[in-house]
């Protein structure tokens, strides 16, 4: 019991929430309350969370801009889907699922490592365009594949799986992603990674193996993007490469940025909300109103980003935000943190945007590629 008290529940809160959600829906699904379209939506949410959390490793914690996350997902979707289709008649449903998840994830991870290599040399926008280029290359290769291999322009027919269980599996994968990502970030290795983000030169001088950690982050991140891809192929009847354009990478990036870079919980919430918003807009605005979808989405996006980030709105933000709103209805509980044990990982998992912004005027920033600096004479 004493031990239980020492557990930092806040660290496990998001696992508990995700697990509880999964459990509730699994029960609802077994009792036949929710419909197949709801299950599909849940799969979609789980895939989005997996993608957003894995991308937030690269963008939020390593501080590199990647616009090619959909490319890794594409690899997972095609290779995992194909593996499953081939293996299913041979080894059965469950083994095929597990093998294909591994194949999709691992192959994507290998490519992630390859793409991590230029990341050692390139920074900022240069790396962004290289990742974007990578995504487009992958897409182009699958698009022009032969009919027999990956279906070419018609797309790949995907494996089927019991829809009652599939979304549960998808959420289990979300839990796995969360576990790996958070455990990695909240360890000495995570500290090294965030150190690279904060100041690469100092990190090197402190003996951090920058090469190793950059490759590690790209590899792990693309592994889970690959997993998301395999789930995607199970979730849909066909995999079509047009889906995985840079636009989709940007959609994932939007989730990460809206969630607040470096905040895993933020990424989870943003991924969920954006997926729902998409579907709601799409199903409510039909017929002649359909053209309003993008308009509304765009306006929400612009307003939210400005609200979240504009330096001028800092005071406004601190006064009117969700937390303040919730706290109104809650008695004030003083913080119980005594020592660094309690909050030792408070900071890196939650960089506030306005802390990042000041970087723009300082010597280094993870996102501006070539800050001016005179050559040392």
């Amino acid at each position: 019991m004493e031990k239980l008290k020492n557990v930092k529940w806040n660290h496990y809160l998001n696992y508990i929430v995700v697990a509880a959600v999964t459990l509730v829906f699994a029960i609802l699904s077994l009792t036949g309350v929710i419909e197949s379209s709801d299950k599909y939506l849940l799969e979609k949410v789980a895939i989005a969370i997996t993608l957003a959390v894995s991308l937030s490793m690269v963008v939020g914690f390593l501080g590199e801009l990647s616009l090619g996350h959909a490319g890794f997902m594409c690899i997972g979707a095609y290779l995992g889907g194909k593996t499953a289709v081939i293996l299913e008649p041979v080894i059965g449903e469950w083994p095929a699922l597990i093998v294909s998840l591994l194949v999709g994830g691992i192959v994507a991870a290998v490519f992630g490592m390859i793409i991590g290599l230029p990341a050692l040399r390139l920074r900022g926008d240069y790396l962004a365009i290289v990742t974007l280029a990578f995504g487009e290359i992958v897409r182009s290769v699958f698009m022009n594949s032969s009919k027999e291999s990956f279906g070419g322009s018609l797309g790949l027919d995907t494996p089927r799986f019991d829809k009652d269980i599939l979304f549960v599996i998808a959420f289990v994968m979300v839990l796995a992603t969360l576990a790996v990502t958070q455990n990695l970030i909240r360890s000495k290795h995570g500290r090294a990674i965030t150190a690279i983000r904060d100041n690469e030169i100092a990190a090197r001088a402190t003996g951090i193996d920058v090469t190793k950690y950059k490759l590690l982050v790209f590899t792990v991140s693309s592994f889970f993007a690959g997993i998301a891809g395999v789930l995607y192929s199970y979730s849909n009847f066909t995999v079509q490469s047009t889906k995985f354009s840079y636009n989709y990478s940007i959609e994932i990036l939007v989730m990460v940025v809206l969630g607040g870079m470096g905040s895993i919980n933020g990424a989870i919430i943003a991924a969920t909300l954006i997926t729902f918003l998409d579907v709601e807009l799409q199903t409510i605005l039909t017929g002649n109103l359909a053209v309003l979808q993008d308009l509304i989405y765009a306006l929400i996006l612009i307003v939210l980003v400005i609200y979240n980030n504009a330096p001028a709105l800092k005071n406004f933000r601190e006064k009117y935000n969700l937390k303040a709103f919730i706290n109104k209805f809650r008695p004030h509980v003083p913080s119980k943190h005594k020592d660094d044990e309690a909050k030792w990982d408070r900071v890196p998992t939650k960089i506030k945007m306005d802390e990042v912004l000041s970087v723009d005027f300082q010597t280094t920033s993870p996102y501006t590629p070539d800050k001016p600096g005179k050559e040392e004479k």
């Binding site: 365009i129 290359i137 870079m261 980030n309 920033s365």
Partner: protein, 290 residues
Amino acid sequence: MEFIETLINGLSIGSTYAMIALGYTMVYGIAKMLNFAHGDIIMVGGYMIYVGLTISGNPVISFIAAVLSCIILGITIEKIAYRPLRGASPLAVLITAIGVSYLLQSSAQMIFGSAPKMVTVADLGSISFSGLTIPVYVLVTLACSVVIMTALTLFVKYTRTGRAMIAVSEDKGAAQLMGINVNRIIMITFAIGSGLAAFAGLFMLMKSPSLSNTLGAMPGIKAFTSAVIGGVGSIPGAMLGGILMGVVEAISLKIPPIAPYTDAIEFIILIIILLVKPTGILGKKRREKV
């Protein structure tokens, strides 16, 4: 002969990329932001030319109207969507740029409908010599690109505003301390970039007269690629990058087995160039002071 022909085709494709990249690199190089909405400003320019032609029938008047409305649009976007985020994370600005891009595309569809419009600006014909045919618009586009490139380079180098732009691009904070009105300089940059977008719109329509609300999306990405290949912030680099992209595209399209992979080939070239020269062909290397 075959090769020269391919080269001409490459110039034809590349001249458009170069033209777009010139406008793109202004905003990109000075405001240091990936303006994903740039392609859509080109699209708006195209529609303004269409509107002008429908109302007045005069290509010159409609072109001037397009340039002016693009400049106003550029300034408005900068003021509403980007300026509040000055000093915020560059990623936040990237996301609003995407929002603006969606906004412009869906507004265009709402106003002009979903069907592509056929816009004939001017039929300039083509010239032939010794078996080779070059459409005149290719020559005009190239000539204009060179003129614009030179003008921009001179502007940036020799005018007060231009030099202020360089200062802002190097270090916004320091520029501000030196008494430069950073907001004003960035606004001017956007005005120039958007005006050039209207130019790009005109030349795109001269080449392919079909106008739709997704006109600028892919060219925007190609221009971004060109600007990076040439070296971020380098005006001649943008032009060079654009032409190079065009030539690569033309060569790749001529080789049947790889023709379907043309886009991929272009991106592979990009990656190779960046791996060899991480700051692009004409980009300057900057070293951080340690």
